[in-house]
Symmetry: C2
Subunit: 492 residues, 2 copies
């Protein structure tokens, strides 16, 4: 079918350009000279303008009209579904708005980084207000009525609705709060001692990445303020961070990003540079990063192996044995930072952001009131006050990057990870024995074959449901897993 | 004038995209994972296809027709001249050919790097033949008859002709050969002793870059196989290389690239992301890299300062004093590698390439005969045989990147540098006293104000002529400078 072939050739070029734009983002966070920020804004805006023009290209409409979906194989139909969706969305957003947003975001990133360094929310607030106004404008253009927040959510998690997430989070919250309170009433595990040099941490990060099957021939690891994974196909890069007193931050940031990156690296190569050649949604993406990081990476079995490698790298660091190490990497403690939060409290950080950003977008909360709203909510959920904006409202990069609707996918990903882990354990009975040897292949092969391989072939809920043998995702398995694990760790 | 404003807005976006494509090239040489090469080819081809489409966009023709050049200021007229030229060239090249060439070049680069590592010309030859065939096709499409090589040369040095360069090189050659023979008949200066750790070399490279006014806020230094400078405006990055036994390679590669990069950094900021916002030609670009590297960087005065910094960094490295150091960095010795060649022999390396590549493009030399032709010519010019392809025909990246017509601009740049240096010395009487303190500002300010600042405002020959107070460029000043300098150094 000529129309379909032409459409796919056009789309492949668009996906290649999207990869280029993504790599500019990577460069901005890792390599770009500081003084290049303004010029980079113009460069990103030019790329966005090209990408936008391609997404709304009239010939896409002609091709779509000429294609008979029934004549395609399932992958072809899935390509068509994705292209149709993104074309429909893109044609509703004015080119002027897309370019303006790209330029603003590049500028706002620098402002946010400075505001964060200065602990000064007010110097970031005007830029944030501009971003919200543009995203609201975008959401209005995309929305067919109802909650305009859903129009933004759709970009990250196709098919998800704010009210469904609200219901799920409402079910999560009381058991998480109860578990948190029970755990924090118990004595803390032993912590690490000494300092951990950057070189050793990065070496260990690379070792651990390799142990999870991350392919360094098609990727690389660098440092960045906020760790991230970037790119699809044969160029999937991750970043991590190091802190001299906390070796676990680097370790688990790395495993987390390796989860994202492995998803991208393991997608069916036939989908490379097509709409199906990338993770299907942020929620499913996060399910991979979290199951690598937590269910596998923080398991008793795998941490036993890591403990040996840590001893090899740093000598005695104040942890007596594998059990103490397992307890230490799973310590539940008070803290302000979402990315450093333990499994028990992580979702509480996310729910806070979900509620605040939904209120911002719906116009129920003003930017001027955001800092106070954050601090009030944090106090209510965690029982103590935020000490400074960089530990509170300025801690995350997301809003400065215009990412509204992204945060809830973190908790959705945790829920998915809970479901997948239950199925994985059933499917791979000798899992813990393998993990105890640092061999994650039983787990990563299962995830590759039952989920990662499919890329965008199935819709988010469908790919999780299929991997879980037909059971639709729910918050139950995650809660059961957390209560069992931390009940054991803290003797509840 | 609305048509001119619209044209410039369009052109700014094109220049921004060209910067993005250039940054992909930088990434490929410094950061890209090895296994990403195929995907990168697709990405570069997509960028090239976008850029090509913009260069041949029909609306450019409409705008150009609607603009009255007499209504513009001189900068506007110069913008128009450049846009008109590149539009005319681009419309003659089929989009298919441009994309094919981009894809081939990305692939050929990897093949060349492997062939070079394996010292196996034959494994590179087929890719080279493909490149030449495409470049010949391009040259035919661009040419209005006559020497098709000139059509390629025009891309790097607007206005230059192969026969004029041949005449200039014919005048250069006998005096260079005579100087070379006289110098090599004399005793060699004392060489360096010991090994020079990479960290120390890179630290010194950054110090020296700073001493030449390179702005690190708008640039960065990394390592690459073949040093280069990349980007314009506020993001101008350089690369260098280190070798444990030879600290001068890193040092002078760095100064060379700083010359290129400073030219880009010092262009009138009003021209940023416009056709005038980059160096006007490769020859003029090379005049800057060479005058930084040689006339200034290898002067008796500046080397005195460097010597102290070398001693601070490496301790005693076998050179007794400043005079011995000056002799060592200006040592004339046999060697295969163009980029390591001294001032006396460098142009002989270039003339060899110019003659061979011109013959290849004109169809007077086949790819199958190239290695033998290189080796014969080298033997004839230098008196000894090439020992292996990586020291001969495979040593340079250029041909694998499709750069035919580029090599002669190196020698043209040396000729320009000779002219500029004569004028600089007249203009800045206390130059040597400054350089002896590591202060290059007298030289670099003069070059900035009299040449670099103008970017693409004046045509190549014109900008040199203006900087030289109205005297048109010729090979005389370079030859006089070389004979005086090396006559003194070698007691001729």
């Amino acid at each position: 079918m000529q129309a379909f072939d032409d459409l796919m050739a056009f789309q492949r070029e668009t996906e290649a350009l999207a990869q280029v734009a993504g790599r500019l983002g990577w460069d901005q966070e890792t390599m770009m000279p500081r003084g290049a920020a303004d010029q980079r804004s113009d460069e990103l805006a030019a790329m966005e303008s090209v990408l936008h023009a391609r997404r709304v290209a009239p010939q896409i409409g002609d091709w779509l009209a000429a294609i008979d979906p029934e004549a395609l194989d399932p992958a072809g139909r899935a390509q068509l579904r994705d292209i149709r969706r993104s074309h429909a969305r893109a044609t509703r957003i004015p080119a002027r708005l897309a370019a303006e947003l790209a330029r603003l975001i590049s500028r706002a990133h620098v402002i946010w980084a400075e505001a964060r360094a200065d602990d000064d929310y007010n110097s970031f607030a005007p830029a944030l207000a501009e971003i919200i106004a543009l995203r609201q404008e975008e959401a209005q253009a995309l929305s067919d009525g109802g909650d305009i927040y859903d129009a933004l959510l759709e970009d990250y998690e196709p098919g998800a609705k704010g009210r469904d997430l609200e219901a799920m989070f409402t079910a999560l919250r009381p058991r998480l709060v109860a578990l948190r309170e029970a755990v924090l009433a118990r004595p803390s595990p032993q912590g690490v001692k000494g300092t951990f040099d950057e070189h050793g941490q990065m070496k260990l990060a690379r070792l651990v990445a390799r142990s999870f099957g991350y392919d360094f021939k098609r990727g690389r690891v660098d440092k960045a303020v906020h760790p991230f994974s970037s790119g699809s196909g044969d160029d999937v890069r991750i970043t991590t961070r190091t802190a001299p007193l906390d070796p676990f931050g680097c370790l688990y940031s790395t495993i987390h990003e390796v989860g994202h990156a492995s998803y991208e690296q393991n997608i069916n190569p036939a989908y490379r540079l097509t709409p199906l050649g990338k993770g299907v949604s942020m929620g499913v993406h996060e399910s991979q990063s979290r199951i690598y990081e937590n269910q596998i990476g923080r398991s008793r079995a795998y941490t036993g192996w890591i403990y040996g490698k840590m001893r090899d790298t740093f000598g005695d660091f104040g942890i007596a044995d594998e059990d103490a190490f397992y307890a230490a990497v799973n310590e539940v403690k008070n803290g302000y930072i979402r990315t450093e939060a333990d499994e028990v409290q992580y979702n509480l950080h996310v729910l806070l952001r979900f509620d605040l950003e939904r209120a911002l977008i719906r116009g129920d909360l003003s930017v001027g009131d955001l800092e106070a709203a954050w601090n009030d909510r944090f106090k209510a959920d965690f029982g103590y006050a935020v000490d400074k904006p960089s530990d509170g409202v300025l801690q995350d990069v997301h809003w400065s990057a215009g990412l509204f609707g992204y945060f809830p996918t973190y908790s959705l990903g945790n829920v998915y990870a809970g479901c997948l882990y239950q199925s994985l354990r059933d499917a791979v009975p000798g899992l813990d024995d393998q993990l105890a040897e640092g061999d994650t292949s039983g787990a990563t092969d299962w995830l590759r074959d039952n989920l990662q391989h499919f890329g965008g072939l199935y819709e988010p809920r469908e790919v999780i449901t299929r991997a879980c043998g037909g059971t639709a995702p729910s918050e139950g398995p995650l809660l059961d897993y957390l209560e069992e694990k931390f009940g054991g760790l803290y003797g509840l």
